[in-house]
Symmetry: C2
Subunit: 433 residues, 2 copies
């Protein structure tokens, strides 16, 4: 049974703290295995990749078949039903339009001292996109990772996708093609992350790796962090819905189940100011769970991590939501904007009952790669900025150096960094000659 | 002796690759020690902090003295010479002005489908700032880390600084005061990082930790990444100078030495289109090394990792610089902007001979916390954005859902995510009733 919490109850704080602290992820310690795999790929390159792929994916690759040929990609993409391809194209166009607005501005100005200052944004040179194989291959994730990179101006986008027992979802290749992925390799796991980070004879190294993966992929990304950039280490998905009684309980139930069905460790929380509505949603969830295809997964998630919380008013709802810092936040109340204005930590907000979270997973436009496990307290969803970096720029004139140089010299000397001080002093002396 | 490389030489590519690959950091594997320290702080809180501080810093703290009292901070700050305090204040004002321009804009728009989309930026709730103790305590680093956090709107900024044998640099406290740091604790090492990430009875946990530290601090930050946000793991400092013969060799020598004096693993590289000028800079460096206070450190850095590279023209200089992706890039040529326009990877650019890199370390305005070890390929210097996060926003209308909902349903079903599809379908059916 999911937990029912009432803010008015004397044990609420303890129950809510327990909900926040619930350990939802069962991530095995695979670090030693991953370290060995990375070392192997660094030492033996393609040979290691081929051997590890044979062992883990039961697929025999050669130097010629490691990378998919363009005609293989085209052919697979053609197998995708027209309706799906058209839906991917609509999604891609909307994701592209949203992310195009994220391209940051360069800046340059001259200040009172006469110093010209500013910054310039440039794209990462090459990015690698990890796409899980097997059952959980989501073409939508390919769009969500690849399009921001391409909008940022990344010239080379290499994708890796394992093909366990030779299986590869054609829709993933169709999405890659629509998004403009440049290279696709039939590899996965820690070995694929190592190949992207360090390169092999066949695969040139990249500068940044993004995309979801299992515990091995996550451990490998953490290990290569620093050598290349990585995105967040994603945890299980979560949704928090703030809803008043003026909603169809079945709609809210479906929205919550659409997180629960991702993963047994996913979490769906309803916060409502109407206890009776809360019970109605709980009943609707049970009813839907009887017929849902993924009822085993969704049911386990709901049973183990689901919660329905009753609050006296919507201000309290917002406070509790901020403590959860949910990946997805649906606000289904009369004045959703007023509640949204109180939200300080959330990955993505969906306003009003006509905005089911599933819209955001596919066609809304915003990215569906979002901070999980309370990390919305300090991080953001994937964006164009993840594929760009900023170079700061400064130009002094002799006059500007005269104004601010002496302070630099003073601080350098106070930090016992003599050459720093002298590099300023030598120039100031010339000005005084 | 530093390396002299000539782009025209047949073995240039091998020599340049060796320069890029030179292992400059000797980072001991302290991960097991750090894991034990973190576990201890999580288990025993303040008691562990006090015990570890006694062991590592030889300082006896109590629950009452863990945190510096405001009057202690004020008193120490008053000890700082007026000239230094005024220089810190000038630096702080300039850093604040530069970073204030980085505050990102929120956005909201309605698209053709009738969907209202956008995003909103909010500050991190609480940030922790690590400040090294002992010899390498730099008040300028306090300003560079604390001011962006405060400009971002971070409400609570907690600083940790170890006081080995009781020593604490008053200028560090003066800088903390000027920058608006809210809390200061006398702790350091992995134990301080653990306290900031997980909290103790005395220290509330933070959401983001920034600031430089030794191998223990770096390993601890890597371990708590995910629980909290962290900044880059910094490596040894580096500078690349592109200079033509129209420069004073002594100025360029001092600029290069001002990186070399930071650390025996620092790297200074000159790229010039005039071999004779290159030799003149090398002589000037040797001359300055005779009298420099930090000549032991700077000399080792220059001897082991320094390089002077001769190129046929400035376009090649820019290409080589991009392969290095230097933390600091000085461009001292007639048309510095033209060379800068060719730069794709660099942490910070300093234009023209009147802009010694040391200006950027203190009073220029841009941040001096910059990507090292070639990570400017994928990351940026510290900024206001490191202390903020973006929440995406979407609102559909019934009409918008009618336009884009069917594509979401198609994709959800193609990914076998039934509840996702049903959450859209239930609403579309209502519209068709």
């Amino acid at each position: 049974m999911p937990r029912f919490l009432d803010h008015a109850s004397p044990d609420f704080e303890a129950a809510f703290a327990a909900l926040l602290a619930a350990k939802r992820e069962d991530s095995p310690d695979v670090d030693a295995t991953v370290a060995a795999i990375i070392a192997d790929v660094r030492a033996r390159g393609d040979a290691a990749l081929i051997e590890l792929t044979a062992r883990f994916d039961r697929v025999t690759l050669t130097l010629q078949t490691l990378r998919l040929r363009p005609e293989e990609v085209a052919q697979a993409a053609d197998e995708v039903p027209d309706r799906v391809r058209e839906a991917l194209e609509l999604a891609a166009a909307r994701i592209r339009a949203y992310h195009a607005r994220q391209i940051p501005d360069d800046a340059e100005w001259t200040d009172d001292a006469g110093a010209t200052l500013g910054w310039r944004w440039t794209p990462v040179g090459a990015a690698g996109l990890y796409v899980p194989g097997g059952l959980a291959t989501y073409p939508s994730s390919v769009l969500m990772n690849a399009i921001p990179a391409k909008v940022a101006g990344v010239e080379r986008l290499a994708m890796v996708v394992p093909t366990p027992d030779g299986a590869l979802n054609p829709a993933v290749l169709a999405a890659a093609r629509i998004a403009g992925v440049d290279e696709i390799y039939r590899i996965g796991g820690a070995q694929a992350v190592a190949a992207l980070a360090f390169g092999t004879d066949t695969i040139a190294p990249v500068d940044k790796i993004t995309g979801p993966g299992n515990a091995y992929v996550a451990a490998a990304k953490r290990r290569v962090f620093g050598k290349v950039g990585i995105d967040m280490i994603a945890g299980p998905s979560e949704i928090l819905v703030i809803a008043d009684s003026d909603n169809d309980p079945d709609w809210i139930a479906l929205d919550m189940l659409s997180q629960a069905e991702h993963d047994e460790s996913a979490q769906a929380i309803l916060v409502t100011d109407d206890a009776q509505f809360g019970r109605a949603v709980a009943r609707a969830i049970e009813a839907r769970l009887e017929t849902l295809d993924r009822r085993a997964i969704a049911g386990a998630s709901w049973r183990d991590f689901g919660a329905i919380i009753t609050v006296p008013d919507l201000a309290v709802a917002a406070q509790l939501s901020n403590r959860v810092a949910p990946e997805h936040l649906e606000i289904c109340v009369a004045d959703a904007e007023a509640v949204a204005a109180r939200i300080t930590h959330a990955g993505a907000i969906f306003l009003g009952q006509w905005t089911p979270e599933a819209i955001g997973d596919y066609v809304g436009g915003p990215n569906h790669v979002l901070p999980t496990a309370r990390s919305a307290r300090f991080s953001s969803g994937l964006s164009v900025l993840d594929f760009m970096k900023r170079t700061t720029i400064a130009r002094m004139t002799p006059a500007a150096l005269r104004v601010i140089g002496p302070a630099a010299e003073t601080l350098a000397n106070s930090e016992s960094l003599g050459a720093h001080g002298l590099s300023v002093r030598a120039r100031l002396d010339r000005l005084n000659d």
